[in-house]
Amino acid sequence: MQIRDIENTNLGLEVENVTKIYNIKKGNVLALDNVSLHVHPNEFLSLLGTSGCGKSTLLRIICGLEKTTEGRIVNQGKVITGPGADRGMVFQAYNLFPWMTISENIQFGLKQKKASSKEAREIAEHYTNLVGLNGFETQYPNSLSGGMRQRVAIARALANDPSVLLLDEPFGALDMQTRGVMQELLLNIWQKSPKTIIMVTHDVDEAIFLADRVAIMSARPGKIKEILDVKKGLPRPRNYHVKTSQEFIKYKERATDIIREESMKLLNSV
C-alpha cells in the first residue's frame, strides 16, 4: 500500500484499474474491465450505460459489498476493504427496516455510531424535514408510498453523513411525476450541502439534470467509454427549466448516441 501525503488525503474517490470477474457455473463473467475513474470531492457524478454493463457492480465495489478481482478503490486516501459508514448506499428497493418507525430508520446509522439519543433525534428531525416527511416520524414503512419510502432511505443514508453517497437507480421504481419531484429534492439537498454523489440511472435526462459529470459505460465488459462534463454547459444552481435548454439537448443527444451505439454492439454480438 502506498502512503499518501497529507495534501492528497482529500482527493475524493479513486477507482483504480478495477477489474471484476464473476465466477459462475457456466464459466467466468467479465463484468468490469480495467475501469479507472476519479470522482472529485463534493462532485455529483451520474453513471449511465446499457443494462448489464456493470454499473451496479461498480457501485457495489465502491461500497465494499463486492470485492475487486483486480484494482482497488481509494476513498479520501483510504483503501476500501469492505462496507463502511463513510459510504452510504441507496438501492432501488428501498430496504427500510420495517420494524422501525420512520424516525428510527433515519436514526439507525447514528445509533451505530453511538450518538446520544438527543443528538440522533435532532439529526433525524433535520433530515426528516429536508425530505419533507415531517408528521410521518412515528409511522412504519408499510404505511408509506414508494416515493415516501425512498425519501426515508435517502434521509437515512444522509443522516449518517457519509463522505460518498451511492445511489443505484434510486428512482427507478417511481412514476414519472414522483421521479421529477425526487430529482429536484435531491438536487436541492445537494446544492444546500454538497457531498460526493455517484448515481446510477437509466434515465439520460435525470443523469444530465443532476450531475456535474456524466460517465457513460460501454456494453459488457464495462469500461468508462466517455465522460461528459455537463457542468460546463449547465451552470448551477439549476432548476427543471434547464431540461429544455439548448445545451441540455446537446448533451442528451451525445449521451443517447453513445448508449445506442453500445446497445447495438450488444445486439450484434449475440
Binding site: G64, P83, G84, M89, W99, Q112, N142
Partner: protein, 263 residues
C-alpha cells in the same frame, strides 16, 4: 352482505364479526352432523356417544375428579418441554441460518435426528430417565427441538441479503447484524414457527402420556379406554382441541400486537 361477497376476492379481508360468525357456523355444522348420526341411533352410542352425553360427562369431569389437574399437568409438560426446546433452538437456528460453518456443523446432524421417531424413544427414555416428569418433557424436547432448529434456520435465511447489506453501509458490524437486523426481521416468521411446532408438541405429550404415565390428559384417555368409557375419551380429545385453539388465537393476537409492521 356486500362486503361479505367482496371478501371472496383472493386474499380479501373481512370484518372480524363475520369471521367469528362463520367460524361458529363451521362448529355448528360439526355438532349438527354429530347429533344427527348419534341421536337418531344411526351409529351405536357405545362407539360414538352423542354430544349430549359428552357434555354431561364433561360437566362431571370438570366439576369432580382430577381432570382439571390432568389438564394442568399436561399443559405444564408441553410448555416446559417446548420452552426448553425453543430457548435452545432459537440461538442455534439463528447461527445455522446465518453462518455457513454452523450450518455445515449442525444442519445435517439435526436433519438426521429430526427423522428419528420421538415416540419410539419413549421406552428408551423410560429406561434411562424413569417415568417421572423429566421423561415426558424429554419426549417433547426430542420431538420439537430438531423441527424448531431447522425451521428457524429457514426463517433466518429468508431475511433479504439487501437488508443486511444496507445495514453494513450504515455502519453495522458483522457481529451486530445478527441482533440488529436478522433477528428482528425474522422474528414474525419465527413466531409462526413456534406456533406450528407447539401444535406438534401437543401430539407428542399425549403419546408420552399414553405410556407409563399416572396423570395427564393422555393418561385419562387410556384409563377410560380400559373402562370402555368412550364419552370420557371424547372429552379428553375435545379438551385438547379447545386448548390448541385458544393457544392459536393467543399467538394470532400476539402477532397483531407486536408484528403489525410486517406486511
Amino acid at each position: 352482505m356486500g362486503s361479505l361477497i367482496d371478501a371472496f376476492t383472493p386474499k380479501g379481508k373481512m370484518k372480524s364479526t363475520y369471521v367469528v360468525v362463520i367460524a361458529a357456523i363451521a362448529f355448528a355444522i360439526i355438532l349438527l352432523l354429530w347429533s344427527a348420526f348419534t341421536l337418531t341411533g344411526a351409529v351405536d352410542q357405545f362407539f360414538l356417544p352423542p354430544p349430549t352425553d359428552v357434555i354431561k360427562t364433561a360437566i362431571s369431569l370438570f366439576t369432580q375428579g382430577d381432570f382439571i389437574k390432568d389438564i394442568g399437568i399436561t399443559v405444564f409438560r408441553v410448555m416446559a418441554g417446548f420452552i426448553i426446546a425453543a430457548a435452545v433452538a432459537l440461538p442455534l437456528g439463528l447461527m445455522i441460518g446465518t453462518y455457513a460453518p454452523m450450518s455445515a456443523f449442525l444442519e445435517y446432524v439435526v436433519s438426521f435426528v429430526r427423522y428419528l421417531p420421538a415416540s419410539a424413544f419413549i421406552p428408551l427414555f423410560i429406561l434411562w430417565i424413569g417415568i417421572d416428569e423429566p421423561e415426558k418433557i424429554a419426549v417433547i424436547i426430542l420431538g420439537s427441538f430438531p423441527q424448531l432448529i431447522l425451521m428457524i434456520a429457514t426463517n433466518v435465511r429468508n431475511v433479504p441479503m439487501s437488508m443486511i447489506e444496507v445495514s453494513y453501509t450504515l455502519g453495522t458490524s458483522k457481529a451486530d447484524v445478527l441482533w440488529k437486523v436478522i433477528l428482528p426481521k425474522a422474528l414474525p416468521d419465527i413466531m409462526d414457527t413456534f406456533r406450528t411446532v407447539l401444535g406438534w408438541a401437543w401430539t407428542y405429550v399425549i403419546v408420552a402420556e399414553l405410556v407409563g404415565a399416572s396423570s395427564g390428559i393422555g393418561f385419562m384417555i387410556i384409563q377410560s379406554q380400559r373402562m370402555m368409557n368412550t364419552a370420557n375419551i371424547f372429552v379428553g380429545i375435545l379438551s385438547i382441541g379447545f386448548i390448541g385453539m385458544i393457544i392459536d388465537v393467543l399467538f394470532k393476537l400476539c402477532h397483531k400486537k407486536f408484528f403489525f409492521w410486517n406486511n
